[in-house]
Structures are given as C-alpha cells and as structure tokens.
Symmetry: C2
Subunit: 386 residues, 2 copies
Amino acid sequence: MTPFSFDLTAADGRARAGVFHTPHGDLLTPVFAPVGTQATVKAVTPAQLHELGASLVLSNTYHLYLRPGDPLIAEMGGLHRFMNWPGPILTDSGGFQVFSLAATRKIDDDGVTFKSHTDGSQHRFTPEKSIAIQENLGADIIMAFDECAPPQDRPYSQRAMLRTHAWAERCLQAKRRPDQALFGIVQGGVFPDLRQQSAAFIASLGFPGHAIGGLSVGESKTDMYATLEVMDAVLPAEKPRYLMGVGTPEDLVNGILRGVDIFDCVLPTRLARHNAALLRSGGRLNLVNAVHARDPRPIDEACACYTCQHYSRAYLRHLIAAKEMLSATLLSLHNLYTLVQLARHIRQLILAGQFQNFAAAYLAQLNVEDMQDPSLNSLTDAFEKF
Amino acid sequence: MTPFSFDLTAADGRARAGVFHTPHGDLLTPVFAPVGTQATVKAVTPAQLHELGASLVLSNTYHLYLRPGDPLIAEMGGLHRFMNWPGPILTDSGGFQVFSLAATRKIDDDGVTFKSHTDGSQHRFTPEKSIAIQENLGADIIMAFDECAPPQDRPYSQRAMLRTHAWAERCLQAKRRPDQALFGIVQGGVFPDLRQQSAAFIASLGFPGHAIGGLSVGESKTDMYATLEVMDAVLPAEKPRYLMGVGTPEDLVNGILRGVDIFDCVLPTRLARHNAALLRSGGRLNLVNAVHARDPRPIDEACACYTCQHYSRAYLRHLIAAKEMLSATLLSLHNLYTLVQLARHIRQLILAGQFQNFAAAYLAQLNVEDMQDPSLNSLTDAFEKF
C-alpha cells in the first residue's frame, strides 16, 4: 500500500544499518540530512550536495509557509522540483519554529497563533494546517505537529506531551497523500517516565517512523543520551527513528549507539558562515585565526571533500578576510561532507560489526582533544580507515 | 623560445578565430574571461566555471597586492594553485585601479603613489613594481603598467599615452619570467591620431599580444567602436588583441567585428549580485519584479546553463526575497554562461563564415528590443542555432 518500508540490514549492539524506501529513492541509514531551511541549503547547489554524498535534505515548513508560501510551491510542482532536489526530502511540522517565537505566540489545545518573524503578520497553525502545508510542499517524510517544552520543566513537559499526543492523532486523521510518510514525534523532556509513556503512545498509533523531539534545546548531553536510551527500548525496532535537530559528530556517534537512524542539523552550514571548519575528530578550526595565513595545508589532509582536495587554509583565510562569498560555500562543502560521510562510514562499520570499537575510540579521543582548535596530527587510530 | 604563440585559424571580415597557446592550456579565441578580482570569481567555484565553459580567468593585481599580498601567493605556489584555477589566468597591471583612486593618488613620470582603499596605508606602484607583483602572482598573461586618462580629455590623453609608452619599455626591461606573456597597452582616449600613434609605438616594441586600454570608462559606444576601427588597421594581425574591461553581449559582437580576440568584464557577476539576469539578446531580466513570482519558466527556455536547466524564475525570485546566497551563485552561473558561450558561438560562426550575418541580425534586434526587460519570445532568428 505505502511506498515506504524500512529494511533493517544489520545491527551492531543497538546501532542499526537500514534502508528506508521513499518515492524519491532509498535512504541508507544512519543518515545525516543537510538543512535547507528556505528551500536551499545555504550557499550550496544541489549538484554540490549530491557530489558530497548527501541523500536526504530537510526543509522548514514554518519558513516556506511564510515565504514564498506553500500554495506557490505546490503550483511550481512541489518542493523537489522547486528547489531542484530529486532525492528524498523531509519537512518538519513548523511546531519547533512556532514555539521558538516565545514572545509572539499563544498556544491553546486547538493550535498556535503566532506572528511572522518577517513582517509581524498574524497566523495560525493547527495539526490540520501543518499537514495541509506539508502536503502542499510534498516532502517524502513529514512530521506531526507537536509542542516543544523547556526539557527540564516537568509540568510543562507533561502538558506538552499530552497535547502532542492529541495532535498526533489529529495529524493522522488529516493526512491524505499516500506518497508521504508521516512520522509521530515523541516528547516528554528529560523525564524517563514521560518519554517512556510518550514513546509507547506514539508507537501505538502506527506511524511508519518516529521522531524524537524536544532534545538539543538546552538539556545536557548526559540527559540527551539517557533519554535516547529510554526510547530505544520502547520504539519498535522495525521503524526508522529520527533525532530532530541534532548533529555534532559526537552526537551522531552517541545517537547511533543508542539506535537512532536519521539526523539533521544546521551546524555544518552555520559554522561555515562563521568561518569555522568542523573536523572529523569533533573539533573545530577557526579559519580567521592569523596562524592559518601562510598555511599551505588543507583543513584536513585526510579529507576527500572538494575543499580539502583543492584549497589551502591560507586561501580560505584570504576569502574570509576579503569577505568573499566563496568562503561560505567551500566551508559548507567541507562541513557537510564531514557529517554526511561520518554517517556513511558508521554504516559501513555497523555492517562490518566494527562500530562499537570505533565509537569507544572516537569518544575517548574527544576527551583528550582540544575541542576548539585541535591539532589534526593527534587524531586517534579510530580514523585510520575513515 | 616563448611558450606563447597565436595561430589565426580563420577570419570572417575583420573578425578572427584563433588559438593562443599558454603554459596552462590553449585559449580558443574570441574568448570572454570571467573576473576573479580577489582570486575568486564571486560566488562561483572553479569546478562550476569549468562546467560553464570558461577557459580564461582574470584577476586584479591591485587587490591581490593589498590582500593577501603577492609574496604570500607566490609562497603558496602562485595564483593558479592558490585559487585552484588550472587553466590560463590573466592579471591586469594595477594601473586602472590605482588611477581610479582619483582623490588619493599622485602620479609622476616614475610611478604612482596611492592609498589603499582597505586601510588607507600608503603604497607606490612603478612599472617595475607592477611587473614584480605580476611575476609573484604568476598569471600566464600579464599587462604593462599604463596610465588611464578621461577619454575625451585630449591634453591628458596625450600625456598619459606618452607616459604609457615610456612605462611599456620599462616593463619589457623589468620582465624576467619566460612563462608569462607581457601584453603592451594602447592608450590615446577617443582620438584617432593618438590611438594610431600609440598602437604603432606599442606594436613596435614586440609584445606577444596587445591590450586596448582606457575604453569603457565613459566614452560613447560610437567612440569606442570608432577607436577599435583605428587600431585594427595598425596592430599586427598575427598577435592577439585584448579589449580591457569590456563585456556586454553587444560589445562582444561589436568588438569581435573589429578584430578583438579577448574580453573581460565584471558585468555578469555584478549583475547577478544585483538580481539581474543577462539575456543572450543583450537584454536584462530583473528577477526581483513581482511578475516573476509564479513564473515556472527558466530565465531563458533555450539556455543550457545549470540554472536554466534546473530552476524557475519563481524559485530565483524566492531566493532573492529570502536573501539566500544561492541567488548570486545561480545568476552568476547563468550570466557567465551567456557571455562565455556567446564568444564560443561566435567562434564557430567565424569558422563557418557566418558571423557577419549573425552580427547584422544581432545588432538589428538590439534596436527593437526593450533592453531592460525584453520578452524572450521576440528573439530574432539570429539565435536559432545559438
């Protein structure tokens, strides 16, 4: 019936390698999705995204609803055609963005009224509206409309969870397109019992995949990982799991260790626009620093991305100093490559039964590295085959 | 001895098709060179430049001398390696930029003292210094240091011409690298006798190629074309001619008709950053206009560039409205493709003996088109094979 199915190819501990079939191609999981908020991954063409190995792209419902408007995108043939990304696309529900507009939104059991960040105009999202917008956009994977809460606030987390559950049922009711997979979202803050309750309820609704919301918004890494542990035990293994908005290299390794399949994050492109390169080790290199001015080495001598294959740190620093747009492009290409390829590499390690060892060595070196500007020469053996 | 030679393959009237051999590859002329002022064509990668058919890239001596400095570029292996452009590169002499700093420079017979536009620091260019910088940069084609004058000011044009002649001799004396072709520059404003005198003098010095300076700086098109006519008769046919800083589609056609082989201009990338598409017809399309908001057509349905093959006007307008950097990239790709391919197409027409007819039809339609926002459907037959 549904064009969506998930094949679990291999497991290594709780880490999983799978294939999620979509109408726009198969996603090999674990997978990292670049974020194209406004129907473009900033400063990067789809041809470049394809070349660096990206398979899934995320776009934001809230932004596209406001500009250029989802009816316009539908009229132009849908988001795939509009933004020229022929592969799978995932859209969020708009929930997270709307709740981020803390000062200008009002939530009730039916939905949320909010003011646009672009022109202050008033709008209203309900579960039904979010689905209608996402059906206009036409992504392969769409999200139920949920309520995020500050993760340490138990009363609010509980209320938001219950509302999220009611809205999940309404989203399922509202959904019409058979060529889109609607994922339910688990909420519950950092509270194990709430997360357990939420995962069990959302799982009971029969979604083809599950998203884990409300993390990476202020809680500690320890809390995030503990929360993932709880859900791994409850969410059905035969459906993909998507950890929303999470994506440092460290988080990928830790998330995959705890059974997560799909990640997305603005980090690689945002860091790029702030002149920072993301290293496979998890560290960062700030290319503004004068120490790079005459450095003929690439960001990472072992990296096979377009930027590292062709450009010196000296050149990248020159572009930044000269305020040339190409710096954002070249750093985005490198940073996206780093995360996309880390997920692909981990998939190979899972297939070979070597991920647990890699993860242990990877996480151990994180503690000894200077996370801000590590020397590339001190990478551990974990990278030898990377 | 010299790795540079110019083969004239065909002529059609005074229009020429040739091959200029350089240490970094053959240039098929006529050719249009994208401008990479600060060692990057703004918002475009070299891979994208190559894909759109660019063969020659121009870079600016004044800008690179100030930032990051020519010794640094030499240390990084030269400009080709630094900016990752393996094909031929041309650098100007810095003369035009320095003279543009009207308020903060002082010219004498020996050279020019000026203040940096970036930090106000004081610097001095002489013919010898310009050559030394260009030897550090390492472009294939370098320019003699010249003085530009307001083209209608006869006394100044004459003084500047004589100084340019004296400096041309000093540049020849100063030049050491055998793997660079130094072009002499003809000056003389819009005055036929001065241009004739200058062309004859510069030609007598034995440069491997000649540049035509001081045009496209305020004179009328009529004056520019008349000036080109004068020089065609004087400059030796067996050496390439480069018309500096000129590059609308109309100028390409008119320049090639008058024996010019090489063009460069910031127009395509500058227009792109101002949201305008350059049309093969010579017209322009301002993509900010609301009329494009729901237009599913590409900029030009007959264009084979990456942008026109993949994107609607509606999408480009959305990127502009959303202030996304990708708009500059996609419009630059289209605009550069338009000029690079116009020059290539003209080369084919010259080889086939059909350029005179094409040029007549092309220039005729310019007069009937609305140059600001022409309908693409009214292109003349001249484009049928374009």
